[in-house]
C-alpha cells in the first residue's frame, strides 16, 4: 500500500513541477504513432514539451475524473469519450474524430491461422486474450462482436483478460495464448511474431476521438488537437496503419 502511495505522490508531484508541459493521455494503441507526432509537434512549437500518458482508455478517463493534470485526451472509442462528455471532463467544442482502426484476431506467427470466430470457440483453442471490456475499448468491441455472433459465453470461459490492447499483443507474441483480439495497427508492429488471422466486423466503427480536457488551461492543448488532424500528423498515423476517420 505504502509503495503505491509513494508512486502516486511522485506522479502528482512531477505533474505539478512540470505544469508548463503539455500532458496528453492517449489510448495504448496510439503509443508509437503519437510519440512520433509528439516529437514533430515539439519541433513545430519551440518551447513546448509534450509528455504522454499511455494506457487503456478506461483508466485514462478515471485519472482525469479524479483530477489528474491532463490537457488532451485521445480515446480508442466513442463510448469512453461520451462518458467524459457526460461528466463534463472535456470541452465538447474541441472534440473530433481523427483516425479509424479495425479489430482483428491475431495468432502466434508459427501457428495455423484460425479462420472465423466459430473456430475460436472450438476446444483446440484453449486461451484467448481479450482486453478487459470494462477497461479496454478493444475488449468492448470484441465483446459486442462475440455477443452478436452468440459466442461470448463460450469464449469468455477461455478469456485471458488484459489491461491494455498492447498486453493482448504481447501475450500472443509470446505464444502464451492461442489467439487474441487487437487492432490491425497493433498487429502490424510485430509482423515476425504475430499474424492476422482475420478481421472482425464490429457493430460500431472503431473511431478515435480526441478532445481538450475541461480543466486544462494550457494554450498548446488546442494546437495539439489541431495538429493531430493536420497532414503531417495524419501521414504519420497512416504510416502506422490507421485509417481516415
Amino acid at each position: 500500500m505504502l509503495r503505491r502511495v509513494v508512486a502516486v505522490s511522485l506522479v502528482i508531484a512531477s505533474g505539478v513541477a512540470a505544469a508548463a508541459d503539455l500532458t496528453v493521455s492517449a489510448a495504448a494503441s496510439l503509443t508509437n504513432a503519437f510519440q512520433q507526432i509528439g516529437t514533430a509537434f515539439e519541433a513545430a512549437n519551440p518551447g513546448t514539451k509534450v509528455q504522454f500518458n499511455f494506457a487503456a482508455s478506461g483508466p485514462l478517463l478515471q485519472q482525469i475524473a479524479r483530477g489528474a493534470p491532463v490537457d488532451v485526451f485521445a480515446s480508442a472509442d466513442q463510448e469512453t469519450m461520451n462518458q467524459a462528455d457526460q461528466q463534463k471532463l472535456v470541452k465538447p467544442a474541441t472534440r473530433a474524430n481523427f483516425v479509424s482502426n479495425s479489430l482483428v484476431v491475431v495468432v502466434p506467427a508459427d501457428r495455423p491461422a484460425t479462420k472465423s470466430l466459430d473456430d475460436l470457440a472450438r476446444p483446440a483453442v484453449r486461451q484467448v486474450a481479450i482486453g478487459v471490456p470494462a477497461i479496454v475499448p478493444a475488449g468492448r468491441y470484441t465483446k459486442a462482436a462475440l455477443e452478436k455472433a452468440g459466442l461470448w459465453p463460450r469464449i469468455e470461459a477461455k478469456m485471458i483478460g488484459a489491461q491494455t490492447v498492447r498486453h493482448v499483443l504481447d501475450y500472443v507474441a509470446r505464444a502464451e495464448v492461442d489467439a487474441g483480439f487487437v487492432y490491425s495497427t497493433d498487429a502490424a508492429l510485430m509482423p515476425d511474431k504475430v499474424k492476422i488471422a482475420f478481421t472482425v466486423p464490429t457493430e460500431q466503427p472503431v473511431l478515435y476521438p480526441i478532445a481538450v480536457v475541461a480543466a486544462s488551461s494550457n494554450a498548446a492543448a488546442e494546437r495539439f488537437v489541431a495538429y493531430v488532424a493536420s497532414p503531417p500528423a495524419q501521414a504519420v498515423l497512416a504510416r502506422y496503419g490507421f485509417g481516415k476517420p
Partner: protein, 229 residues
Amino acid sequence: MASASLDAAWIALGLSLKVALWATALDLVLGVAAGFALARLRFPGRELVDSILLLPMVLPPTVLGYYLLVAVGRRGWLGGWLEGTLGIRLVFTWQGAVLAAAIVAFPFVCKSARAAFEGVDVQLEQAAHVLGLGKVAVFFRVTLPLAWRGILAGLLLAFARAFGEFGATLMVAGSIPGKTQTLSIAVYEAVQAGQDDLANLLVVLTSATCVAVLLLAGRIAPMRIPGRS
C-alpha cells in the same frame, strides 16, 4: 450488484489466502534450507550468494515479473521444458501466482532463518551429537527448535508480503477472476474500471485481513518482528 461484488470479493480473498499460504509453505522449505546453508557452510562466494538470494526484496516486482515471464513462459527455457515434459503451465495459472509470490517473499524467510541459525549455540548441537544423535536428528531435534521463533517471524513477514504481492503476479499470472485475480489485482482492476463500490469493499477486506494477520503475528512471535523491541 451488491451481492455479486460481495461474492467476487470473497473469491478474491480466498484466492489471495491460498496463494499466500502455498508461497509461504514453499518458502518455509527453501528459505530454511538456504538460511541453514548460509549460516553453517563455509564456501567461496557465500556473501555473493546471500546478496543474490536477497535480490527479490530490492528488485522492482515488474523486473522479477519480467524475468519470470521470460523463464517460465511457453517460449522460455524453463517454461518450454515444463510444458513439454511435465505438461505444467505456470503463466496464467494460480500456481504461477504462487511462484511469483514465493520468490518475492523468499528473502524474508531466508534472512530470518540465517540469523536464527547463527544464533544457535553450536555447543548444544555438539552435546547432542556426543550423546548419540545423528546429524539429521540433531537438526530436527535441537537446531530447528532453537531457531524456530526467528524463522516463524520471517514466515509471518513472508506471508504478509506474499498476500500483498501485485506486480510480478500480474505479469506472470494475469488477472483472471476466480483463478489468478487476487485481492490486490482485483482492487487495481476495480479502480481502473471506475467501480468504486467494489474497490471500497475490496480495500476494507484487505485492510481487515492485514490487521488480523498482524494481531496474530503479535501473539505468536511478539518479540521477534524486526523493528519491534
